[in-house]
């Protein structure tokens, strides 16, 4: 697990930190009312986005959800493009047409995020179909949450992916809640991964707070897919620190539960490990932290200074 080169480990760490600091900073602007819409934030789940995306090649693709910021940063969407989109500026990744829930950047392999729960899964499966037909060895990861695994689209997609043997890795981020509903209320199974056997594909349960484990299992699944081994369902057990959205105070969650999961914080956990193994010094940590903070600030300032789109552009980009 720790056999990764230092470079890679630091990358994993920096990426997680980037997501955390970005999300925390963005929240500040949300509270000031500068970001027009609500936000669905990713704090607590960083290990999954980073672990998965680091296992992908540059030309592999991901599809995402209404909670896309972590995936976007991990896959490589420039922070500036994300902040500008959140602020509704024309320099945003979607030219201010999409907003928080549709972040994406085709040029680095992230399709526009899909905000309808579960609706991105068939689309990701179609991407995999394209890769198979083109015979390119590219792989697509479909991110979705525990709630989505109850959608019909999940069932149809995994079934077809299995039947056609498509190069897709389904990554289910089980943060225990579909909006405000605890998973035990809506599923009889203990693990979502157990559903994989219904389609004849492998189902893996992984610790969503351990970035190295996520990285490892994703690697295996991606290799399998690339070699024509077909799809895999990976269930990552995780937790979101924020409410469903920033308008949600999440009073439906017991404090003990929140504390339990925060104690397993993926960034703290990983930093501790790296300190222990002397891969990271305090100094280096500070350096990385201040680099990330600076990057975030630059991105924020870029967004603040960017112009708004002119209103008539609302009529553009309907048709190609």
């Amino acid at each position: 697990m720790i056999n990764l080169e230092k470079e890679k480990l630091l990358l994993l760490y920096k990426q997680m930190l980037s997501i955390r600091l970005f999300e925390d900073r963005i929240y500040h602007f949300f509270l000031q009312g500068i970001i027009p819409s609500t936000l669905h934030q990713y704090q607590g789940q960083e290990a999954i986005a980073v672990g998965v995306c680091t296992a992908l090649n540059k030309d592999d693709f991901i599809t995402s959800t209404h909670r896309p910021h972590g995936h976007a940063i991990a896959k490589g969407v420039p922070m500036k493009k994300i902040t500008a989109e959140l602020f509704g500026k024309v320099t945003g990744c979607c030219r201010a047409k999409g907003g928080s829930m549709h972040i994406g950047d085709y040029s680095i392999g992230m399709l526009p995020a899909i905000a309808i729960v579960g609706s991105g899964i068939p689309i990701a499966t179609g991407v995999a179909l394209a890769f198979k037909l083109k015979k390119t060895k590219q792989v697509v990861v479909s991110f979705f949450g525990d709630g989505a695994s109850n959608q019909g689209s999940f069932h149809e997609s995994l079934n077809m992916a299995a039947v056609y043997n498509l190069p897709v890795v389904y990554v289910c981020e089980n943060n225990l809640y579909g909006a405000s509903t605890h998973i035990s209320k809506v599923m009889k199974l203990e693990n979502i991964a157990d559903r994989a056997s219904a389609y004849g594909i492998p189902g893996i349960v992984a610790d969503g707070m351990d970035v190295l484990e996520i990285y490892r299992v994703t690697n295996e699944a991606v290799e399998r897919a690339r070699e024509g081994g077909g799809p895999t369902l990976i269930e990552c057990k995780t937790y979101r620190y924020s409410g469903h959205s920033r308008s949600d105070p999440a009073k439906y969650r017991p404090k003990e539960e929140v504390d339990f999961w925060k104690a397993k914080d993926p960034i703290l956990q990983f930093r501790r490990k790296m300190f222990e193994m002397n891969i990271l010094t305090q100094e280096e940590d500070e350096k990385i932290k201040s680099e990330v903070e600076k990057e975030v600030e630059v991105a924020i300032n870029f967004a603040i200074e960017s112009p708004l789109p002119s209103p008539e552009t609302a009529l553009e980009d309907v048709y190609a």
Binding site: Y106, S119, P122, T125, G126, V140, S153, A320
Partner: protein, 338 residues
């Protein structure tokens, strides 16, 4: 020039486009099964044999999956032609059609395009309520989609080619009674429309209507089966000295309103005949356009002749009651000329 049925014309279009462009593939239920039907209306017969099963993909009964997969592939450079067996089943995939396909380009700020064609047989055929709807009008209300309604073999081939080459999601509605399918799949009440179809490559641009019959006393705009009923009605009315101008819109989105406005300027009367239900239907949209933009030329109120606002019933006597007949068209024209 050979005379083809609409089913044959569509097959020819698919075949030619698949030959011309390797990114075109077909995906749907029962379309390529060896020894099978070639789809519910014989359209894809022979194509799997010619192009293989990676280009004619049979699916489980999973409309959401079919459309979703097609969308994903379309964003990655393919031009899928997906199909549902009856347009009623479009509702099963409605989220993928309306929330995804129609919006992906726009919400990504133009980063992606979805060059997808979704073929759907439409119209009532004595099979009961859930296999009988005419849903073309519903889809004009979703910005980002295009809607095509070919009524003749010549139009079908040319329009399908344009639809496949279009970079946007296109809903391509084919009327079940107009296919002219033969053999075991022949529709009992079907009309065989044979038309001359050029063998060479030709396209008909989307957004151009066609005056199928020139007249001077009144304009009828109608599509699919209703177009043919209107033409029959026009022939009969001609014997009484009433000359009806019949316009085939060919596409609902983009919509050629200019041709209709010019016709109304000449005839001063407009009747829209539509197999969809009356309330909030396509006919209402056409009427609104004409009242907004050609009001000064109207000599009588614009009128819509549509199916009654009921689900389509099964028994033939009930079904033919609710859907506009040639007689009802003739009656409506005469009332408007009084």
């Amino acid at each position: 020039m050979p005379k083809l049925t609409i089913a044959e014309a569509i097959r020819e279009a698919l075949r030619e486009e698949m030959m011309r462009d390797s990114s075109v593939f077909l995906i749907g239920e029962d379309i390529g099964i060896p020894g099978g039907w070639g789809g519910p209306f014989t359209v894809t017969q022979g194509l799997a044999e010619e192009f293989g099963h990676e280009r004619v993909i049979d699916t489980p009964i999973s409309e959401t999956g079919i459309v979703g997969l097609a969308i994903g592939a379309a964003m990655m450079g393919f031009r899928p032609v997906a199909e549902v067996q009856y347009c009623d089943f479009l509702f099963c995939a409605m989220d993928q059609i309306a929330n995804q396909a129609a919006k992906l380009r726009y919400m990504s700020g133009g980063q992606v395009k979805v060059p997808l064609v979704l073929r759907a047989p439409t119209g009532a055929t004595g099979r009961g309520t859930q296999h009988a709807q005419s849903l073309e009008g519903l889809f004009i209300h979703i910005p980002g989609l295009k809607v095509v309604v070919p009524s003749t073999p010549y139009d079908a081939k040319g329009l399908l080619k344009s639809s496949i080459r279009d970079d946007n999601p296109v809903l391509f509605f084919e009327h079940k009674l107009l296919y002219g399918s033969r053999g075991a799949r022949k529709e009992r009440a079907g009309i065989e429309i044979l038309g001359e179809v050029p063998e060479e490559d030709y396209t008909i641009p989307l957004g151009i209507a066609d005056v199928k019959r020139v007249g001077k006393d009144i304009t009828i705009v109608a599509k699919l089966l209703m177009l043919h009923r209107s033409l029959e009605a026009a022939e009969e009315l001609s014997k009484e000295g009433i000359e009806v101008e019949v316009i085939d819109p060919r596409t609902l989105v983009p919509f050629d309103k200019e041709t209709i406005i010019n016709s109304v300027k000449k005839t001063n009367r407009l009747l829209i005949v539509d197999e969809g239900p009356k309330t909030g239907g396509w006919a209402a949209e056409v009427a609104a356009i004409i009242v907004e933009e050609a009001m000064d030329y109207l000599d009588a109120p614009v009128r819509r002749l549509c199916t009654y606002d009921v689900p389509i019933p099964f028994s033939p006597v009930l079904e033919s009651y609710v859907i506009p007949s040639k007689e009802r068209i003739i009656q409506a024209v005469k009332e408007m000329l009084m």
